[in-house]
Each structure stands twice: as structure tokens, then as C-alpha cells.
Amino acid sequence: MATVAGSLERQAAGRGLSLVAAAGWIALAAGLLALPHLLSISQREVAVMLLVNVLLVASYRLITLTGEWSLGHVVTMGVGAYGSALLASLAGFPVVLAMLGGALIAGFVAWLLSFPLFRMKGFYFLIGSFAAAEVIRLCWKKFTVPFGGPKGLSQVPELPPLDLGALTGWLSLQLGEPGAGGHSGAYFLGLLPVHEDLVIRFSKPLFTANYYYFCLLVVAVSLWLLWRIERSRIGMTFHAIHWQDSLAASVGVNTRGYRTLALVVGSVFAGLAGALMAHGVGSVAPGRFDVTQMVYVLIWVIVGGTATFAGPIVGVVVLTVLNEVVLRELGIDALRPAVYGAILIVSVLFLPQGLEGLWRGRRNRPAKRRST
């Protein structure tokens, strides 16, 4: 009863706040669109990586919904990165298709791994997923053909330029200039810098601003999909499996099947994040996907809090900003991991709900997560 009352209360509060919420969303969108114009080139690259990591942690949360914590998620991202890079460079796929292909390969590999891994639970699943992922990563390191060995793949194809020539007539209206054929410094829809010939380029000089918008679009759509999945009947079933797996099984829920589904869907989006990274950075190497990276994903997710959709995203954004702004300014490079470690310890001991639990307040706090 208490939870029903709580959710009704939240709904009512939601309606009351809808104007504020809408204003908040608009402000957020405006901020995200304006962001690359406020940043230096190197900060734009950080912003692109932040978008990639937001997708990574959001997809990780989908897997943790069913109660299993994987240590293989970063390698899954790597499968998407390698898959997409190889599809584009060896098989000659157009980059956008290669990205989707890489994501699907990541999902397929996760499906294959689900057979041995879902025989395990809790700590065993954690360590098993580490072992399986590390084997994949060591294979990238071991086999120079086709994975490039320890140095990995370089010269991963970039997104091809997007030719807006066909849209010229329509575009001229948007640009507010007649015959938008040959002026420099124009902005598509007021945002994307467009070259004289009305082509949006994703190559290096303009890479970061335009590629940022591309990633923003992909990540926004992916987050919306992940959100819809979590709110759907399937997502509710994931929650049910996490809290009461025997009960769920006893009313006819195929818990193993749903766990696999969560793992595969989460892995597809992790693979997509990897593909975005590969074609943005232009190279893929096994060192980018080692267990240290996985530890950072865990820290982002745990410090942010896993109870809600926004938690891990808050975690990765806050810690990245902290890392780039505060720690970089302090100039204590060697001690940065120690700061992360201390933040992790403090948040596990004193903020079991994560950062996100801070402003959700005491009243709406959900029942304590069952310890596994």
C-alpha cells in the first residue's frame, strides 16, 4: 500500500511540476546543443567520450536491473568497436551500417556468452564474466590478423561527409540567406558549421563539433529506447527478477530468458557506444578495454546510484566533470585514481543510494536493495 500511495503521490507531484520539468528539459537540450561552441578542441573530445560513456553506463544499468553485475561490459563495448571498425575497413560497409553491425555483433557475442555465464550467480557471475571478457581481450592482443595485436587497429574510417546539396533550397530558408551556395561560416539549423559547398564534414578539423552532434543524436535516441524498455512490461519483469526471482519463476516467468534478454540488449547498446568511440577516435586497441576501464564504469554506476535510470548518468557526468575540471586543475595526475577510490569508498559507506539518492530525499526512498 505504501508504495502505491507513494507512486500516486509522485505522479501527482509530476503533474504539478510538468511545466518546470518541460522548462528543465528545454534548458538541458539547449545546453547540450550549445556545449561544443563553449569548449576547446580537446574538451570537445572529452565531451564526445562523455556521451559514449553515458550510453555505456545506461546500458550497463539495464543488465544490473536483473540483479547480475558483469565485469565484461567494457569488453562488450570493445566487441562493438572492433566489429564496427573491421566491418567498415575490411568489409567496406558504410560507416553508419558498420556501427549498427558492430552493435549487433556485441549483442550476438553476449548471447553466446550467456550460456556458460548464466549458470553462475552473484560473485561467480562477476568473476566468470571477467574471465570470459579477458579471454576475448587477450585474443585481440594475441591475433595480429585481423585485430592488429597489442597496438590494435588504426585509421578506422571516419563518418563520410553528409552532403546537403540536395537540400539547398530548403536549407536556404533555414539559413535565412538567399541562394545559400557559397558563403562560409554558415550554420545548419543555426548550429552545425557547414562548409561552403553545404557539406557537413566529420573529419578532423571539424571532427569534434559535428561528431559531437552525431553522437548526441545517437545517444539521445538510445537512451530514449532504453528508457522505454525499462518502462515496458519487459522492464517490469527485469525488476521482478531482481527482487524476487523464485517468485517470478513460480508464476511462470522464464527468468533465465529475461536475464539473457537484458544482457543482450544492454550489450547491443554497449557495442553501439564502442562503435561511436572507434569511429570518433579513429583507432581501437585492447588497452582501452582492460579491467581498469571496467573499474571506472563500476565507480560511475555505483557513485551515481543504480536505483533509477538517471543515477548512473549522473555518476558519469559528475565524476567526468570533476576529473576534467577539478583534478586536472590541481595537477595531481598520479593521485587521481586514489581520489576515485576514496570517492567510491565514501559513497558505498555513506551514500548507499548513490549521488542520485541525495536529492530524491528520504520520503521517496525505495525499499533497501536486497543484499546478494
Binding site: 552473484g122 566468470g128 592482443k141 598520479a334 586514489a338 543484499s371
Partner: protein, 290 residues
């Protein structure tokens, strides 16, 4: 395959299994009482090695003093971890595991800050070695690792078997609640278990300082090996850890000798996965009670 190479590889494997057993047994001791897998165990090992380096090279002190100090210091770090981190997480093993990852990051970063990332070597502690027949030899420094490890493990066995504290430890590992009902203090026992487990990692690191380059990330490979060992041996089983350390060290050393290190890593991880899939309780483990 030449006989000499075979013998040499077998000796190397014996040496590798001895210090791996120390690290893995420490991990199992902590797990047994706390039900927490200590991810920072490799960093305790690293701390032991750096303590010896600081004493023997920076302060020009005797090697044995370095070893003694390493054991005390690492055990102290273990006690602090138990009191400050593991005790509040006793009902939440995953929380304890995550806290130990935080400790791992802190210890690593402190080591980088204090000693730099360049690998360090200890000047030879003992020169020479034993030679068996043609070309098969074992450096005294490695013999020392084997002998001390074996002695420590025997002492630990006697301690667990024949002292009241040892009984208390085993009782807590079997069933903490029942042990508590018998009047055994869980907190005190946990302190002893974690202190001992950490001290074992400290001894292993101190001894290995003679034989391997000392660097802040040296804990990584040993912790992966130790996880493989405790899973193969059956998590929570001390005998299993010792036997599995031998098994894994032999497989790893032979595969490394005849192919290369990356393949050996892959084989080790596949071995662990195989055990996890086929017999998750390991060679010697008993089924966890729900």
C-alpha cells in the same frame, strides 16, 4: 622436449606455485570468515615488496628487517581495512568487494606517487644457486621463496588445527552464527583472519621482491592468478587453494615456456571458466549454504 628443459620448467613451476599458494591462501582466509573477496589483495602483495625495497635500498637496512617490517605493515593495513570497511559490510559481500576495489586504487596511486612507475630491482640478496646435473638450476633466492612459503603454510596449518584461535577461525568459516552462539567473538576472529590473510600477502610480496621487478601494478597479475587458484580449488577451501596453486602454476609455467605468456593467460582463464561451468564448487569446495 629435452629432459633438462622439462626438469627446469618443473622447478620453476614449483617455485611459482609456492608464492601463489601464499597469496591465494590469504585470500581464502579472509573470504572464509568475512565472505568478502578482497580485490586489493594484490596491492597488499605489492606493498610488501615495496616495503622491502624501501628498507633494503633506500635506507640500506638488512633484507630480513625489510621482510619483518613488510609483514607488520601489511597486516596493519589489513586490520584497518577490516575495521573500517569490511565490518560495516558484513551483510553485503558485494559492497565489501567494491570497497576493496577502492582500496586497490588508493594503494596503487600512493605507490606511484611515492616510488614512481619505473620498475625497481633489489640488489642480489643471496648469490648463486643449486645446480642439478646438466644445466638445470634454481637460484638460492628462489629456493628461499619455496622453503619459507612451505614453512609458513605448515605453521598456518598447525595454527588452524591445534590452537583455540585456529578452531575459532575454522568455526566462523563454517557457520558464523553457530560460532557466535558458542561464545566466539566474530569481530575478534575476523580481525585475526584478515590480519593473517594480509600478512601472508605481505610475506609473499616481500619474498618476491628478490625475484621480480617491483612496480606499482605488480599486484594485477598476481590477483588474477589468485582468483583462478581460489576458484579452481573451491572458494573457501584452504587445501583446495594449495593444490590448485600447484596445478595452475604448472599449467601456466609449461604453457608459457612452450608458447607465450598471452596464451598462458588465456589457458588459465579458460581453466577457471571450465571449473565455474562444470563444478562451481571447485575441486575441494563444499556447496555454499543459502
Amino acid at each position: 622436449m629435452e629432459l633438462a628443459t622439462l626438469l627446469q620448467t618443473a622447478l620453476n613451476a614449483l617455485y611459482a606455485s609456492s608464492y601463489m599458494a601464499l597469496v591465494a591462501v590469504g585470500l581464502v582466509l579472509i573470504f572464509g570468515v568475512m565472505r568478502i573477496v578482497n580485490f586489493a589483495h594484490g596491492e597488499l602483495y605489492m606493498l610488501g615488496a615495496f616495503t622491502v625495497y624501501a628498507v633494503a635500498v633506500e635506507w640500506q637496512g638488512p633484507f630480513l628487517l625489510g621482510v619483518a617490517l613488510a609483514v607488520v605493515l601489511v597486516a596493519a593495513v589489513g586490520l584497518v581495512m577490516e575495521r573500517g570497511l569490511f565490518r560495516p559490510m558484513r551483510t553485503n559481500p558485494l559492497g565489501g568487494l567494491i570497497l576493496s576495489i577502492g582500496v586497490l586504487l588508493i594503494l596503487q596511486a600512493l605507490a606511484v606517487e611515492r616510488f614512481g612507475i619505473r620498475a625497481k630491482d633489489l640488489p642480489p640478496v643471496i648469490d648463486g644457486g643449486i645446480t642439478f646435473g646438466t644445466g638445470v638450476q634454481l637460484a638460492w633466492e628462489r629456493v628461499l621463496v619455496i622453503v619459507v612459503s612451505a614453512a609458513v603454510l605448515v605453521l598456518l596449518y598447525l595454527f588452524l588445527r591445534y590452537t583455540r584461535i585456529g578452531w575459532a577461525l575454522r568455526a566462523c568459516a563454517q557457520d558464523a552464527e553457530a560460532a557466535q552462539l558458542q561464545g566466539i567473538s566474530i569481530n575478534r576472529t575476523a580481525q585475526i583472519a584478515v590480519g593473517l590473510g594480509a600478512a601472508l600477502a605481505g610475506i609473499a610480496g616481500a619474498l618476491m621482491a628478490m625475484n621480480v621487478p617491483i612496480e606499482p601494478y605488480m599486484g594485477h597479475s598476481i590477483i588474477v592468478a589468485a582468483f583462478i587458484v581460489i576458484i579452481v580449488g573451491g572458494i573457501g577451501s584452504l587445501e583446495g587453494a594449495v593444490v590448485a596453486a600447484g596445478l595452475y602454476a604448472f599449467v601456466d609455467t609449461f604453457v608459457t615456456t612452450y608458447t607465450d605468456g598471452t596464451v598462458a593467460d588465456i589457458v588459465g582463464l579458460l581453466l577457471m571458466l571450465l571449473v565455474l561451468v562444470v563444478k562451481p564448487t571447485g575441486l575441494f569446495g563444499t556447496r555454499e549454504r543459502a
